[in-house]
């Protein structure tokens, strides 16, 4: 397990070396998410259209180690945008990856940009 989670490390925007062209904007449902594969990693990309914001995090929920977060439900707690895991409703901040309703490990998060109808995720390698 530890090796599965260890692969996922937060990438800050200044650390981005590769902008991976993930998919076209319409592959991502409004106020929803979808997963992409990049070098063996599974990354969930969220189109939070209600807020006009895009986020990306690891697709793996740290609670029961399930590749599922892209199918989670979006929402907010106070000002913080969040995603709820479909399995046991663990919620995580989309901005920081912190588990908001428990003490699970943080999610790794990735920068996202949208250019000319395509969604790009930033990786450090």
């Amino acid at each position: 397990m530890t090796e599965v989670t260890a692969e996922y490390k937060t990438v800050k925007s200044e650390e981005v070396k590769v902008w991976h062209k993930a998919a076209s904007v319409d592959a991502f449902p409004t106020d929803g998410g979808a997963a992409i594969e990049y070098k063996g990693l599974q990354v969930a990309i969220f189109n939070f259209s209600r807020r006009g914001e895009w986020y990306a995090s690891q697709n793996l929920c740290p609670h029961k180690k399930q590749m599922i977060l892209s199918r989670g439900m979006l929402g907010s707690e106070g000002q913080e945008p969040k995603v709820a895991c479909p399995f046991h409703k663990k919620t995580f901040s989309l901005k920081t990856g912190v588990n908001l309703n428990g003490s699970e490990c943080d999610l790794a998060t990735y920068p996202v940009k949208v250019e000319e109808g395509y969604v790009y995720v930033g990786f450090s390698q």
Partner: protein, 830 residues
């Protein structure tokens, strides 16, 4: 370590141990308890429940493990028969000898058996211990007529037990009225009428002279030369304190029994205390449990060196349900030797009698009696005990206010609300503030209020709600931080403003960006209002994952597929299709409890293909993923079964197809049985239909699951059309008014007015909404579409069913292994 020995493991002896362990360091006291019965302490107050649920563990105050966990040495089945006060030891009948520093006598009482000729005969019992009850149950197997001697509290409990044992039941009372210590003549008459209606035969003013029979009793003979043929007699004519040990070691006992104690519950020997029904305090034996608990508290307090506290005479008010009749008596109920002005309300038609005794000056309530309806008991008791000033029209206290403001009285903080656990209103309010309690269960755990006899529960809830309101917390059930409304209010907004879109609702009536609570809830409301495809127009972002992919997510992230099999009826051809599909996609198959077949282990991209094959073979969605109708289970019914009265299969198919796809606050299950043998288990469903000679009986609000509850009769002997009409109304009313994720049973438990109110609304149309409810259901039935059929035929929707959007490969982390020839997902995180 101070050695404490408790003689007697009854309710009071147990409570003493509980309190001592709760209040003092474990290492300060070594506790040994002797109980002569084989069982650990059990709840004697609810003893009559043993006749309907003969399990001792159900009545136990605490399991044996509790004594171990609390380092209490419990020695059951051993009777102490000697106390040596000089050497401070006790000796049991088995010869066990133990030293004590302090000795607690909690020996309780035994049944008082009057000196009547023939009481030794076979068939004569007392009503006191589990052993007595076992003997009575055994003996009743060969008898049909039984008498209970004693028309007091315990006697009437015993009479109920005789009814439960299917005996023709007689009650013999020496006094001219029932419950002579609690009721006046008119109160007794009201109770008498109710008892007679239930088939209990009452004989007042009867002095039993002889119990007839050779060896076995065959009847009773009375002083007025009348007699009564009965095969069994249960004596419940009062209690006799168990004071023989006190006598043996030379402690003072009362003339008519009871160990003499002072206000500190000390006997003549300051190292020996007596508590509960064996103690004689100011020439009075307290035969109720609450004063016994208070005595235990007083003694514990002395042992731990707490603030000085003495036992004062105790209020003997009581409220109970006797054979389904509420009876309460409080304060000075009879006012035989006190000047007072009574206010009496009597309704001979409904069997309700209420009396309150007002002081001469009209300012205070002294006590009273309630028979047939005792809702006001807690309030009246508090007014009495706290000497609260009466309202200008004191009759409102028992009649209810006629017009104008409701009579509501503010209790002082010192008001004792729970007498079993001695909890005051102030204790409850303080606990709510200090511990930030947010629901009534927390209040009960924290303060113990309402955990004894439970009579005070309504008032505890009121105090809790008032306290929350005072703290500015809303008692209102708002659904989450994004909407300051209850589910029902949101439904009203959706209907009145004709809102069809979640974002519009949130923009106009909420704050923030929603969450996993309000999104699915609103999705469900939109679906049960407009019945549009649940994945249309961005509604997919509102659905829980099961609804989003129209399948049930399972461990590992695969999904299960459940086609609808209405009423559990399926052709061999369709069975073969299910088998072929399962085989082709390598799915684990299992028969469900709802008479259909679940196919597990489908990957997300396979779902539309699987469903395409199923739909082509004539299947449709089973909505196993939704908070909606699951199945209507049926037995085989009159077409095949030799007992069947009607065709339950046809009716269950009709019902299942009528309500398929209906979105509701929680899942819905139904059942139809073709006769009263009830093979479809319809009474464990949200709605259950059982065939009768004349038509159908309709039961509602049952469920299995973690808190099983039987469905209750909504209407009897109705035809199929009426049955559907009532279910239409019932389900729509539930959908409109239930809180989120409350099944019908929970909803009914919370519904003000309960089943009677529900019958009024659904059957008698008391709210005048029946036609609307039917119309709304008709709309749902008319606009039903199979969701899977729509997805299969819509390429845009089909595209959503994929694990990655940038590659065709399925989730590489999904793993299965073999079990009994089928696949299963690997364990979480393996």
């Amino acid at each position: 370590m101070e050695k404490i020995i408790v003689i007697g493991n009854g309710m009071v002896g147990y409570k003493f141990c509980e309190k001592l362990r709760a209040k003092a360091d474990k290492n300060k006291f070594e506790i040994t308890v002797f109980g002569e019965e084989p069982h650990a302490a059990y709840d004697r107050v609810h003893l009559s429940e043993y006749f309907t649920n003969p399990s001792v563990s159900h009545l136990e105050m605490a399991p044996r493990s509790w004594y171990e966990e609390n380092d209490i040495n419990l020695i059951s089945g051993e009777m102490i028969n000697a106390i040596d006060r000089n050497n401070k030891t006790v000796t049991s009948h088995k010869g066990t000898q133990l030293p004590y520093d302090k000795l607690i006598l909690a020996t309780g009482s035994s049944a008082f058996v009057p000196p009547i000729k023939g009481v030794e005969k076979e068939g004569v019992f007392v009503y006191r211990t589990i052993e007595d009850l076992d003997a009575i149950i055994e003996y009743s197997k060969k008898t049909k007529k039984a008498a209970v001697m004693g028309g007091g509290l315990l006697g009437l409990e015993a009479a109920k037990a005789m009814m439960d044992l299917k005996q023709e039941t007689h009650v013999i009372e020496f006094a001219p009225r029932l419950m002579p210590r609690q009721l006046d003549n008119a109160g007794s008459d009201a109770l008498l009428t109710k008892m007679q209606e239930l088939g209990i035969k009452l004989h007042l003013n009867k002095n039993t002279r002889n119990i007839a029979g050779e060896g076995q009793m065959t009847g009773m003979e009375f002083a007025d030369d009348s007699n009564l043929d009965v095969e069994m007699l249960v004596i419940s004519a009062g209690i006799k304190p168990r004071d023989e040990l006190a006598t043996q070691c030379g402690l003072a006992v009362g003339q008519r029994g009871g160990i003499v104690v002072n206000d500190l519950l000390q006997t003549d020997d300051t190292d020996i205390f007596a508590i509960g029904e064996c103690a004689l305090h100011k020439n009075f034996i307290y035969g109720l449990v609450a004063p016994g608990y208070e005595m235990a508290d007083v003694v514990v307090n002395q042992l731990i060196g707490g603030e000085e506290k003495s036992f004062k005479s105790y209020d003997m008010s009581t409220k109970l349900k006797l054979i389904g009749v509420d009876v309460a008596s409080f304060g000075n109920a009879l006012c035989e030797n006190e000047d007072h002005k009574p206010i009496v309300f009597e309704d001979k038609h409904t069997g309700i009698y209420k009396r309150i005794n007002i002081s001469e000056d009209g300012k205070r309530l002294l006590g009273g009696i309630l028979v047939g309806e005792a809702e006001a008991y807690n309030m009246l008791l508090q007014v009495t005990l706290n000497g609260m000033a009466l309202p200008p029209n004191p009759e409102d206290l028992i009649l209810g206010s006629r017009g104008g403001e409701e009579t509501k009285m503010e209790l002082p903080d010192s008001a004792q609300v729970c007498s079993c656990e001695n909890v005051t209103k102030g204790d409850i309010c303080q606990a709510v503030i200090d511990n930030e309690l947010e629901d009534i269960e927390q209040v009960k755990t924290c303060t113990k209020a309402g955990t004894g006899c439970g009579a005070c529960n309504p008032i505890v809830k009121d105090i809790f709600n008032e306290q929350l309101a005072k703290m500015g917390k809303t008692v209102k059930n708002v659904i989450c931080e994004h909407f300051d409304y209850s589910r029902q209010e949101i439904l009203d907004i959706i209907k009145i403003k004709k809102i069809q879109d979640y974002n519009q609702l949130l923009n106009d009536h909420g704050t923030g960006d929603g969450c996993e609570t309000c999104r699915p809830l609103v999705a469900s409301l939109l679906a049960s209002t407009w019945n549009e495809m649940i994945l249309d127009k961005g509604k997919d972002s509102l659905q829980d994952t099961n609804d989003k992919y129209l399948a049930n997510i399972q461990k590992g992230g695969s999904y299960s597929v459940v086609p609808r099999i209405p009423g559990g009826e399926i052709t061999p051809d369709k069975l073969i299709v299910i088998g072929q599909v399962a085989k082709k996609y390598d799915l684990y198959t299992k028969v469900t409890g709802g008479q259909r077949i679940d196919l597990f282990g489908a990957q997300i991209h396979q779902l539309p293909d699987i469903w395409e094959e199923l739909i082509n073979a004539g299947f449709e969605s089973g909505h196993a993923y939704g908070k909606s109708l699951r199945t209507v289970k049926s037995c085989v019914g009159s077409t095949w079964c030799r007992y069947g009265l009607h065709d339950s299969v046809s009716f269950s198919i009709e019902v299942e197809e009528r309500y398929r796809g209906l979105r509701s606050p929680h899942k819905l299950k139904g059942g139809v049985s073709g006769c009263r043998r009830e093979c479809a288990e319809a009474q464990s469903k949200d709605f259950g239909i059982i065939a009768t000679e004349e038509g159908w009986n309709l039961y509602v609000c049952g469920n299995g699951g973690s808190n099983p509850q039987h469905a209750q009769l909504l209407a009897g002997d109705i035809d199929s059309e009426t049955c559907l009409k009532y279910i239409d109304r019932f389900l729509m009313f539930y959908i409109k008014t239930a809180e989120p994720l409350n099944r019908t049973a929970t909803w009914l438990n919370k519904l003000d007015g309960g089943l009677d109110y529900l019958i009024d609304v659904v059957v008698n149309d008391s709210l005048g909404i029946a036609a609307d409810l039917e119309k709304e259901m008709e709309f749902m039935v008319d606009t039903y579409k199979c969701e899977w059929k729509e997805v299969v035929n819509n390429p845009e929707l089909r595209k959503r069913f994929t694990h990655f959007v940038n590659t065709e490969i399925p989730d590489p982390t999904m793993k299965f292994e073999d079990m009994r020839g089928q696949k299963k997902p690997v364990e979480w995180g393996a």
